[in-house]
Symmetry: D3
Subunit: 320 residues, 6 copies
């Protein structure tokens, strides 16, 4: 069954498809009949769903949030499209093409991961090398690293976004490091590879993007620091000791890479390498964010809507 995306549904059509259901409520009409209101969505958008002649049993069978098989039809109500549901049943996530529900990078994650591997493979400092390899050897973590989004919104907010953002940053670093020979290249490469590794635990992305409890309480910056210490402890237990000075130089890059206290960095950059990672991260994130905002602007105006995070509207017209 080919999925009909939310943003492709036209009024007056029969619906027989899988969508994600959220926030179902059981209500009664003024005549006392029960009905269920809910949201139905996929990665292209969200509509209201209404099931008239509902029962409490049906209501209790619904996941929140979760996937459902819906049969019914689309209609316009007060100029808004909605879905009138005749039958609804919960569907296991394993039966679902997850890409229909969560945006995914349009690049090849296998290829990107190989590229990351190749670039960090250049690291010669023996301690950084062994530490990076310890992360690479953690198959479960690397699986998450290949799939995690880089953020909830703003930039690279799709499956594989963390990998794509990390690779972009590594490529920028490789391009400019020769221009700044005083900067310790291995530290920069290891720092970029691991700077957001805690996002694998900060964000959950099985059905929708959201923060984990742990992500909100601790945050990916502090988590990344804990993770490199745990990997170093594991190496030490196998008699491969990472010097405290190396671990702290790397940890400092991670802690300071947001560049400012109010963006959650408990330390400001204090080494050449920390400054370089901070700027490369901010450059790649902002270029991605501005590109998306310009591409996603629904109007045909020369300017996007006001972007609060950037404190400006963005100009879309090209001169070239």
């Amino acid at each position: 069954m080919t999925h009909t995306f939310i943003n492709q549904i036209e009024p007056g059509k029969a619906i027989d498809d899988i969508y994600m259901a959220k926030e179902p409520i059981l209500r009664s009409t003024s005549r006392g009949d029960l009905y269920i209101a809910m949201f139905l969505s996929d990665r292209t958008g969200q509509l209201n769903g209404r099931m008239w002649q509902a029962t409490e049993t049906i209501y209790k069978s619904l996941p929140n949030p979760g996937f459902v098989h819906v049969q019914g039809r689309s209609e316009l109500y007060q100029n808004n499209l909605q879905i009138i549901i005749n039958n609804i049943s919960a569907i296991d996530a394993s039966k679902v093409t997850i890409e229909d529900f969560l945006a995914r990078t349009d690049k090849d994650t296998g290829q990107m991961f190989d590229d990351v591997k190749k670039i960090v493979g250049r690291i010669k400092n023996p301690q950084l090398k062994v530490l990076v390899e310890e992360f690479m050897a953690d198959a479960e973590l690397m699986e998450k690293f290949r799939n995690a989004p880089a953020a909830m919104k703003l930039h690279h907010d799709y499956l594989g976004g963390l990998l794509e953002h990390t690779l972009n940053m590594l490529q920028v670093a490789v391009a400019i490091l020769p221009l700044y020979p005083q900067v310790q290249a291995d530290l920069v490469l290891a720092g970029i590879f691991l700077h957001d590794i805690g996002k694998t635990e900060e964000l959950s992305y099985d059905m929708a993007f959201s923060y984990t409890d742990s992500g909100q309480l601790i945050g990916h910056i502090a988590k990344s620091l804990v993770m490199i210490n745990q990997k170093a402890d594991a190496l030490a237990a196998r008699n491969t000791k990472i010097d405290k000075a190396v671990l702290d130089a790397l940890g400092h890059i991670i802690l300071s890479h947001h560049g400012q206290y109010e963006f959650g960095s408990p330390k400001l950059p204090a080494t050449l390498e920390a400054f370089m990672v901070y700027y490369i991260d901010d450059l790649d994130a902002k270029i991605s964010q501005v590109t998306s905002a310009i591409n996603d602007e629904p109007s045909d105006s020369n300017w996007t809507a006001w972007k609060n995070a950037l404190q400006t509207r963005l100009y879309r017209k090209r001169i070239e």
Copy 2:
């Protein structure tokens, strides 16, 4: 030999005592003779020292910083007291009464540590209990905990200051927790006990108070978080698992206890317990800081000098 403190030295007296030497420089006079200039200090102050007729051999024998045995005399030079050195030799730290050089709490650290133990001994939550005990069982760390200062300056900036500040906070918590029964007492007590534990690694205090490299690169907040994770890993290796939810709730208190991003907290308080620890910490630190500023004011004015950290002068006159 009783130590004559720097602030007790009068002009024109013979000197035969141990002081800390800092920043020695070998210079030549306009006639070409070599001499050494340096600072001599103990915990009560610092003076200039001058050794005329010096040699490069003597200069090279001097620690920087480090303890020296000085023979010579005090004199007034342009209305400033200085020490003219006849003989000088390096002295091993083991031969020195460290309390002459570093300020120390005037309370009994053994007694204070017992009090801390007693209060955290009230913790009933089994996981917090076992985690706190794991810290208590780390004799080397507890030795540091008993001796560390709470800060470089501003508040409790003396040996034993961390212990004194932690005990004060625990006592305040014990006094007010009954007034706020909705606050989880065990979390507050464990959070206070461990909130600054990373200061044992952030500060060095063998000859003078200073930040360690690691302290400046990582900071005590992130260090404390890493330490509780490492203790939990150690417990897990012995089959005592601390739930992630417990560890994160405790970690959140630690990360947020400075209350504001610009004071180095990467997370703002988001639980009742985090708010309580933040306020108790700030209250105890500020009362200590204001008390010291009022007591240490050298003038007999009703007001202290301007205190930049508080953005005000402080009023010293009492009405009672």
Copy 3:
């Protein structure tokens, strides 16, 4: 007649009850018939009310805001509950159970006031003692003090909230003052008792909580200062002079108790006592605010909605 609270009304029920009416408007339908739209509320919520077949006479008889006796029925309109009004008439406030309309502390205000009296009764400093007694002797003011809310929103925003908040603060002070013997206890107790006394004039709370004109133009901080000066003038007229130094020390606590300029304090804390009152006030207010936010969260998520005043969401899950 038992009051049916707004949050208890179900669709399709007959209504014969008293509510507060606000912002009535007389409108005409597309057919030219007049109707009145208004809000109907009590302390649990607010609904739209509609009276079809209305007249200008009825419209002019309605208070704004004010209590009304409403007869009609509830119905769902576009999934929102509203009240269709058949008869409506203004009702005098004296006939109304005010507690149905304004939230009130669930503690005993008589008991709380006695507790406050007992604690400030410990003040020994003769001048502070006489000044506090002068306030206690002002029966009209004390009546307002017992009933005023502590704030419009955020914390202790209910009748008796000012008293409850003041008592909590006094109890915290009594618990921790023994730990800080250098702090002048009488000043702290008098400062807490009077720190928000101007709120009795800043807020009006006869039918709903709102700021008075005077409250908005002058604010409770400056008003509290004027009030202690006026009481001191009254005492002076009866030959009991309060020293300027005592009055200024107390006034300084009042002026600085918000702790920061941007929260309306024209002076920053500059005495031990001012710091202590500021921290106790902030602690009690924030614990109350966080507790309410956690308890009032309508969803069953582990996290509340974003709280702008705290710049975070709040975590509700307990570990104990």
Copy 4:
């Protein structure tokens, strides 16, 4: 005896004159002889004074700060001028021409006060009129008003400065009020007259400009508010009641006239009149401050030194 001003003293001259002494210290030389170091000043500057062969009796006879009759001579010491004192004795302030020690406006304070009287005499609103007259009738307060400086530094920092600044503001108001007929002129004039009246109590200026304890604890803004309330109470006691609305509108102008929280205003301007007084105050203060900075610049550069309060250097070159 004509006073020789500090900035007119040349090296190698005999001194027999009155200066203000500050911070005397009794010290001993390296030979054990006692001497006294102190500062000697008048309104043009300050020099070091040294009295060799001093005694503790002389030391104890010195005021701090206070006027002294000094006999001795001037000399250059390490290229700095200092005064070597042979005889010194305390002098009563009544024997001193205070203008030699405190800067004073070069305008006629009698004339300026008459001009203020004339302008506020235009106020027609009966309540503001009677309130302003109540202040005018307080001879002791008006005496202080004529003599107080407007500030410790920055602008109008000389005797009579408060009067001069107030008159300037009134004249600006009289000039522009006709252009803004919607602004209530009487409120603006009364607001200007009284906006800084609390400075008569905030600053002391008998021997030098300094803040009083009360000035630092309470500040002139809150003091001014208390003063208008006390005058209104005094009028009420004589059966002339000022409406609360009038008093609050005037009080609001006073509280908000610094325009921003961080400059000590607990309320932001919320009426046309408050905005007008704020802008006229800031304009007159800044023009005075910039004029002084430009005139007082000691170098002949086109630019003054960096002015921290203005966050810029100032350009002095004229084009006209």
Copy 5:
């Protein structure tokens, strides 16, 4: 045909009038019929318009935004007024009374411009004189100067507003310059005349007020600076050289007249004249803004709604 203003339309009336149409969309009903939704507006407000039984040809004939002749009727839909359109056709802007669509000053722009001319005619400095005359001689620019609004919103946001604001400022300057003889009057007058001249290019105001692309990319401050340099270049090409010092002093006033970096001034005021222009600009803008907010408040409360730009509500009650 007299225009019926949007805010005068009642339900159930026939409509045959010109309005501005914006954002038309072609939609289909649930039955598959096409209809067009759009906004219809004039300077008094905006309504929804609906044309049922529409065609794609009609839709494509509609301007966006642009003037249209509308025939139909008004009706209430869910208590909101809307216009049901039977016929609609685009209308050329030349056939329209533009004042019906854009607010205009109620003062005489010819008279105001003469007044501006008269005041700047007083400038005696030969270089400023010739520069101002060069602007006055640019008929096309002066035509824009007479018609431009002073801002998109907040103050003088209507046709002729720039002229009215500039004239007000010149009149304030003429009134107060005699009180500050140290301020170079010619620079102030020329600075005021030209401070916002770039707004003629920053704002477009043919059918509605909006920013031009150039206005958003460059801003009126930098544009004004470029314009005075271009006029000086034009004069230089005709052998009338303006000294760099004069041009820079004038340019500095323009660049710094917002007074703070965060309001878009790349330089802070550093001359007496720059301070004066900044204060006069801010005073006139704020008085205008507060006056409008007070006059436009729809409720009869003593207070306006919260004004975010001023961070307060405004008090409207007069005491006189």
Copy 6:
């Protein structure tokens, strides 16, 4: 004559060399003899100079600042080196090796300029191409561009620094533009070439680095904008019109390249190209600044002194 640099002078040596003299003052000793005090400097440092037995004629012959030929000797005075001057005479700047007095890039400016030319030679957009060529053809301006420093302090603060910084930025852009194909490369290259072009007028650097009057009043950002408009006007006068859209897109990059209002940008970045130039500028400036701070640190500590502009100390120890 080889120049002996200030930082190479040892005590007790004969001096016969050229230095820059600053701030000479004529003073008299306590015995009434005249002498001259001044500063003598070159690019390596500054010393006090003293000429005893001076005359007013000599004093008046001295430039301030300016070059002088000095004969005398060095001596230690109170442990500070100073120069005792026997003969002194002003020297014309043309006789001086300016590189002895102003730091200069150690790279080849001819080569660097060729590299810049080559990179901007890649620009294909015809309008940007012609505009860049117009600047390249201005030989006088390009001469300044090759020699100007990039800043007074902090980064690239030496002759040729502007060129070096501009070239670095162009090289970074060339390296990373292929990674961001959506960014208009020609605009970025032209924007980098011209972003600081106004610094040729903002800074003067004939004898020492300082701001010009014009630089302080207007600033290099606004100056750069005026310059591109003037070049476009010149082209237009020769019938080569640059579209307003192109000029504004380029002007926007210039105005916004400091990225934040408080750093003097009157506009925030609003195009992809503006963001890219801002990040490349900040990255190159900060890497240069941190590198200098680390290299110039005089102590052998792992940490530099506190750097206020970066709000941290910098860590110098390498791990590689």
